[in-house]
């Protein structure tokens, strides 16, 4: 037996007051509609009782959405369809509801849809089919979901793919056009190539005759001709030599962008060594000192790199200062966006994804004024007269074209009468046309 104190009773009253006020609050809330539903344990199971219709928001969502939404019985009878679907197939909603979904599916898709409907009864399934309506076949993506146990129906969401299909068609068309143009271009290049080949050959023929007959003339008339006449004949001879060189150079220049040339792993050291061998005699004559560094292996067209190095080395030797033994140094370094910075890369418009090799040809020859640094790469541009230094004016233009074809850059720095430096930037790898050796 325990005694109940006044304190206990007051405390209990306080508790009861609190609970009463809370219950009153609840009743008030129900009365003024600020409560929608409640969850309660009924027969040991939790259940939700709805006090008022809450589905307004859901209705609006389904009705206004830009996708088709339907509710189908397990036999495929449409018991609900939203306005988007009716509009999509061009049939008023009153007619849609109560029809079978299969009526709106094109003949070719029926079987596929049937299969997926059956699949959906086990859970859900998604597939692409064609609806027929609005006088056309409508490509759509459908998502079917079994809504059991809550509802004995299958929900279906329909997404219109017409626009997507249109874009796909356009894309294919453009790709096809592009492919055709590429084939055309290849043919054109091939025939241009043939033309250049034949033209140069046919142009060389008369030149050969000029050379031969002037030589013959000289031979036959050697003693009887005056010094002046001899000189005239020599001029003819020199001009025809020059013409011959020019034709070859122009032919080489036109040949650079040969569609069939593949980029292969090329050891630049090998190419440089071969080039220097070609100049053995000249190097000896000029007492030239050539120092070479290690060059990398890059994706390139060997023949073109050969022409590039040949021109650069040749120039360095040709434009040496009289009385000073020529000194040429060739070195290289590797550049990458991480190490050399985005500034360097953007200054020379390089591809940040690629690493480059910068090959440096430095000589101590007659150089040039820095203001002409760009000009010298223009075709037929010369800074010296023909009498001073021989040449066709194509060499550096060819170099630039070759370097560009390799997606690289070439630039020059020079000082008047104080040497020149040529920087050749070549990417280490080429994306397309790359074949490993």
């Amino acid at each position: 037996m325990y005694t109940v104190t006044a304190e206990d009773m007051l405390s209990e009253i306080g508790d009861l007051k609190l609970r009463l006020s809370e219950a009153q609050e609840a009743i008030d809330a129900i009365k003024n509609g600020s409560v929608d539903a409640f969850a309660i344990r009924k027969d040991g199971k939790p259940e939700v009782f709805t006090l008022q219709s809450l589905d307004y928001a859901y209705r609006v969502l389904i009705e206004k959405f830009s996708e088709g939404a339907l509710n189908l019985t397990l036999d495929g009878l449409i018991i609900y369809s939203n306005s988007y679907f009716s509009k999509l197939i061009g049939i008023p909603n009153e007619k849609v509801t109560g029809s079978y979904i299969f009526d709106f599916i094109s003949g070719e898709s029926r079987k596929k849809f049937q299969e997926h409907f059956v699949l959906a009864l086990k859970g859900c399934s998604k597939t692409e089919i064609t609806l027929s309506g609005n006088n056309r076949d409508i490509p759509v993506y459908v998502s079917l979901t079994n809504l059991q146990p809550q509802l004995a129906t299958v929900g279906m969401i329909v997404t219109d793919l017409s626009e997507k299909k249109l874009y796909e068609q356009l894309f294919e068309l453009h790709t096809e056009t592009l492919r055709k143009k590429n084939v055309e271009l290849e043919h054109l290049n091939k025939s241009l190539d043939q033309f250049a080949s034949i033209a140069s050959h046919d142009l060389q023929e008369p030149l050969r005759k000029i050379k031969t007959f002037t030589a013959l003339l000289k031979m036959k008339a050697n003693q009887t001709l005056s010094a002046e006449s001899n000189e005239l004949i020599d001029k003819i001879k020199r001009s025809s030599e020059r013409m011959s060189l020019l034709i070859n150079d122009v032919l080489n220049f036109s040949r650079v962008v040969h569609m069939e040339d593949m980029f292969v792993k090329t050891d630049l050291n090998q190419i440089l060594n071969d080039t220097l061998k070609d100049f053995d005699l000249l190097i000896l004559e000029k007492n030239a000192v050539v120092s070479i560094g290690i060059l990398p292996v890059v994706d390139a067209i060997p023949l073109q790199i050969n022409q590039l190095f040949y021109n650069l080395v040749g120039n360095a030797l040709k434009f040496s200062k009289i009385g000073t033994p020529a000194a040429l140094s060739i070195s290289s370094r590797i550049l990458s966006a991480e190490e050399n910075g985005n500034e360097f890369y953007s200054k020379f418009n390089l591809d940040e994804q690629l690493s480059y090799s910068e090959i440096c040809f430095k000589d101590n020859g007659i150089g040039f004024e820095q203001q002409f640094a760009e000009q010298i790469f223009s075709i037929f541009e010369r800074l010296n007269s023909q009498e001073q230094y021989s040449g066709t004016g194509i060499g550096l233009a060819l170099c630039r074209k070759i370097v560009q074809h390799h997606h690289g850059r070439i630039r020059a720095e020079g000082k008047d009468n104080d040497g020149a430096i040529f920087y050749v930037l070549l990417p280490l790898t080429q994306e397309t046309n790359a074949a490993s050796n």
Binding site: V35, A39, R41, V48, L54, A57
Partner: protein, 103 residues
């Protein structure tokens, strides 16, 4: 461990709230808007809020005897407090939660 961390939070003034709603009903939407406004204005960093849809989780009725929707329950700090309705009476909620207005 969980209790210990809760205790720690209380000593720093953290409040644990549960908001019960029914899907997208107008009342539910208002309740969500109101509580988030409240939390942002007065309880930044101090509140742990859970929003539960009683349609999706009728089993919440296991814990309480009856759960109204929308309703807000303060679980911690004790004592438990219940606010029924869409919480549009901000003053009432603030007072009830024991938030002092001069932060």
């Amino acid at each position: 461990m969980k209790n210990k961390s809760k205790l720690e939070c209380i000593s720093k003034g953290k409040i644990f709230l549960k908001l019960y709603i029914t899907g997208m009903s107008e009342n539910s939407v208002r309740a969500i808007q109101n509580i988030t406004l409240l939390c942002d204005q007065y309880l930044t960093g101090r509140v742990d809020l859970e929003i539960i849809d009683i349609y999706k989780n009728p089993s919440v009725a296991e814990e309480q005897m009856i759960v109204f929707s929308p309703s807000l329950i303060r679980q911690l700090p004790l004592p438990k407090k219940t606010f029924i309705g869409d919480l549009s009476d901000a003053k009432k909620v603030i007072l009830g939660l024991g938030i002092t207005l001069n932060e």
